[in-house]
């Protein structure tokens, strides 16, 4: 009980002190782009700074063991520099534009879904190939906002978010369990359901940074190898002898509330193409 009270106090303090900074960068016509033209993702600025990462199973009964920071510490603080994250998961229509424009071989099932739904049946390399292609498109397209063009010119890259970036964007700086707060809400996310929903279907005004579908709909690939906590971005290139396993976050339409919590960590074989795995892009300085 003492632990729970302490955690609640910390959460309250964080909630009071935190201010969600939302600065959308929408490419002109992104939302209604015709199928023949690539619809660029709307990028949201996630300000730099520390946030609480992980979850302590002794304090949060829904937490999984792999969310615990270390044997002696339930959660950890991670400082993440400013980056931008797409408001929505990449859609079938967006991915189809990439498939049409490049010679990358995609699983036909990835293009079979409704255009506005998140793309699925994409492997981790497929997701990165899309990011590389998108980066080139963003550099060329005249309708891209000047800020994005400037960042790209400065060497920022379009890629997948790291799991720390993903978690910070999902839970904000107030350590919430779900993007909208502490309790599961089926009106806020697509989970415990039968299939994917069009991206942004579930309105979530309370969600950190105004991001959509950070819980549920589809698991989202990240750029982090699956390793035990504590999280340290500098060890991403370690353990080269281990079989590859990459972190995915957010849970999917078929998962229970426990899996769609912001600190929940999933992992998959990078070659996996599944009906419940998709991704969203990030613009980062690496």
């Amino acid at each position: 009980m003492r632990w729970r009270a302490a955690a609640a106090a910390v959460l309250l303090l964080l909630l009071v002190g935190a201010r969600a900074h939302v600065a959308p960068l929408r490419a002109q016509g992104a939302a209604e782009a015709p199928a023949s033209r690539p619809a660029f993702p709307e990028l949201v600025e996630i300000p730099g700074g520390p946030f609480v990462m992980g979850a302590d199973p002794s304090a949060d009964p829904m937490a999984f063991d792999n969310e615990r920071w270390s044997p002696s510490q339930g959660t950890g603080m991670v400082d993440v520099p400013t980056f931008y994250l797409a408001r929505h998961e990449v859609t079938v229509a967006q991915f189809a534009a990439f498939a049409r424009a490049s010679s990358w071989r995609v699983d036909p099932q990835a293009l079979a879904g409704p255009p506005a739904h998140p793309v699925v049946f994409v492997s981790w390399p497929d997701a990165l190939a899309y990011c590389r292609w998108l980066e080139g498109e963003l550099k060329r397209a005249p309708e891209v906002p000047g800020r994005v063009r400037q960042l790209l010119a400065e060497g920022w890259r379009v890629t997948l978010p790291s799991e720390a970036e993903w978690e910070k964007a999902a839970r904000g700086t107030d350590g919430r369990r779900y993007p909208w707060g502490s309790e599961p809400r089926r009106d806020r996310a697509n989970y415990q359901n039968q299939g994917t929903a069009p991206v942004g279907t579930y309105p979530c005004p309370e969600c950190a940074h105004g991001l959509a579908d950070m819980s549920g709909n589809v698991w989202e690939w990240t750029s982090s190898p699956y390793q035990p906590y504590p999280y340290d971005a500098s060890d991403d290139r370690a353990n080269l002898d281990a079989d590859a396993l990459w972190v995915m976050r957010g849970g999917s339409f078929g998962d229970p509330a426990r899996q769609v919590r912001t600190p929940a960590r999933g992992a998959a074989d990078p070659g996996a193409r599944r009906a419940f795995i998709g991704f969203r892009v990030a613009l980062v300085k690496r």
Partner: protein, 509 residues
């Protein structure tokens, strides 16, 4: 007119085969069978009409010839052994049966069209079998397989010359059509319509394939006295390979002294007694020329950037054309004492057992020296890495080829190495897109450095092969070593020159 029941029944057999699930699974394949059957039926109709005015064609007496059925049995042995280790061969059997029906009817109608009697026997068997030991078209293009056979029969029926007072065919029928189609496929860049590459590389999946081919070859040698052809061809290639290695420090045929498919050709393709020289010495010369021809064509095709596995096919018709010249030259030489001592003068067969004995000794010696079955120095990837680092002739090109082949089999380590080559531009021109494609493949094969390099190709990383990779990398041309325990795997990898494997092996002791 009852004679037409024979081709009609055989055509019905062809149609019956087309109803098998293996054929029905592909529409183009089914239509190729039906097209072949329709052509044969139309041809029979034309001949039936002609028979009204000219009289019915005739069938000769059943005449089984040893050179047909013995060869066919030997071919069957190869198919059985090969298919045991490479299942697509057994899967192909219905297609082989269909070709046999087609070949019988085609041969029959061809003879009748030439107003000759057709002599029943086993003649079509070796033509169909030896063709299919070297080249199959993929299902979508299988109509070309029937044309391939038809060309062989047409070559046998129409491309003839006078030899020893008899009109005989010039070319080994299967080698003739195989060579023509090989040239066509190479010129048009369409070799991927066939399974030639797979056929070429899967012979060695069977353990002790050289010993097996050697054993089967002895049967053919015993019956048809073709030992001088095979033995001299083998000796030439073993010698040339050894000489090349002595000069360059790298094996000529990458991972063998003689590729298994070439070794097969030496026993069952170039050895057609009807299109070989008449004397033992002539046959020895013929074999030497085959060996040199394969050696030269392998280099030529490689230099032109073409698939090298056509080397053994294209040289045979050229050699067939030289047979009268070889026979004349040998006749002019007469009974030279040295040739007499080697048993290479006089009629065929007289010294056959002695020749076979010499061949057995030679093969035994090559085997004892590790030049046939077992590990070849070119099987070891570290050997090629070292040779490439030392700038040995074509070593880097072969290293890339070998890594490409393992990458295609999903050895993540090999894909990652290829990606690094295409990034650093040392062995190949820098091609970032290609490098990333290889890293993707490595990553999908769960080789972590491939994923890391895909994410950030600016400082590519590498790692030692995993046990999963080693199961491919040290297979020595055989099947993947899926069941081999890790200690044995590391021991074998250590033998191949992987120093990390030696350390792991030592650590586990």
């Amino acid at each position: 007119m009852g004679v037409f029941l024979a081709p009609l029944a055989l055509t019905a057999g062809l149609l019956a085969v087309s109803l098998l699930p293996r054929i029905r699974q592909s529409e183009p394949l089914t239509w190729s069978f039906w097209g072949a059957a329709m052509l044969l039926l139309a041809w029979q109709a034309v001949l039936a009409l002609r028979a009204r005015t000219e009289g019915a064609p005739t069938l000769g007496p059943f005449t089984p010839r040893a050179q047909h059925y013995v060869q066919a049995l030997c071919h069957s042995g190869v198919f059985l052994y090969w298919g045991w280790y490479w299942p697509p061969v057994y899967d192909f059997m219905p297609l082989l049966a269909g070709q046999l029906f087609f070949a019988y009817v085609f041969d029959m109608l061809l003879a009748w069209s030439k107003r000759q009697a057709w002599v029943p026997g086993f003649g079509p068997f070796p033509i169909v079998f030896s063709t299919n030991l070297f080249l199959w078209f993929k299902d979508d293009w299988f109509a070309l397989q029937f044309i391939l056979l038809a060309v062989g029969f047409l070559g046998k029926a129409f491309v003839q010359w006078e030899r020893d007072g008899r009109r005989v065919h010039i070319f080994n029928p299967s080698a003739f059509s195989l060579a023509l189609f090989s040239v066509g496929l190479l010129v048009t860049g369409t070799t991927d319509l066939t399974w030639a590459q797979e056929i070429n590389t899967t012979f060695s999946l069977g353990p002790r394939i050289y010993l097996m081919l050697f054993g089967i070859g002895l049967v053919v040698m015993y019956f048809f006295s073709i030992t001088p052809v095979t033995a001299s061809a083998a000796a030439t290639l073993f010698g040339a390979s050894a000489a090349y290695y002595a000069v360059t420090g790298v094996p000529y045929f990458v991972d063998s002294e003689i590729p298994a498919a070439v070794f097969l050709g030496m026993h069952l393709l170039v050895t057609d007694p009807s299109t070989s020289p008449r004397t033992p010495f002539g046959r020895a010369v013929f074999g030497v020329m085959y060996g040199l021809g394969v050696f030269a064509l392998y280099a030529l095709l490689g230099a032109l950037g073409l698939p090298t596995f056509y080397d053994k096919l294209m040289v045979v018709p050229l050699l067939n054309l030289t047979v009268p010249s070889i026979d004349r030259a040998v006749a002019r030489l007469g009974s030279q004492p040295i040739l007499a001592r080697l048993g290479l003068v006089g009629p065929l067969g007289r010294m056959n057992l002695a020749h076979m004995g010499a061949w057995i000794l030679f093969f035994a010696a090559m085997t004892a020296l590790g030049r046939t079955d077992g590990m070849h120095r070119g099987d070891a990837l570290p050997f090629w890495q070292q040779a490439c680092a030392e700038d040995r002739p074509r070593a880097c090109e072969r290293l890339l080829m070998i890594e490409g082949s393992y990458c295609a089999d999903n050895a993540g380590w090999a894909c990652n190495e290829l990606g690094r080559h295409y990034l650093d531009g040392r062995l190949v021109p820098t091609d970032t897109d290609r490098a990333l494609a290889y890293f993707s493949r490595a990553c999908e094969a769960r080789f972590q450095p491939g994923c890391v390099n895909l994410l950030d190709p600016s400082a590519p990383v590498a790692a030692d092969p995993r046990p999963l990779d080693l199961r491919l990398l040290v297979r020595e041309g055989g099947p993947n070593l899926l069941e081999m325990p890790e200690p044995a795997l590391y021991a074998r990898a250590c033998r191949h020159g992987w120093s990390f494997a030696c350390e792991k092996r030592s650590a586990s002791r």
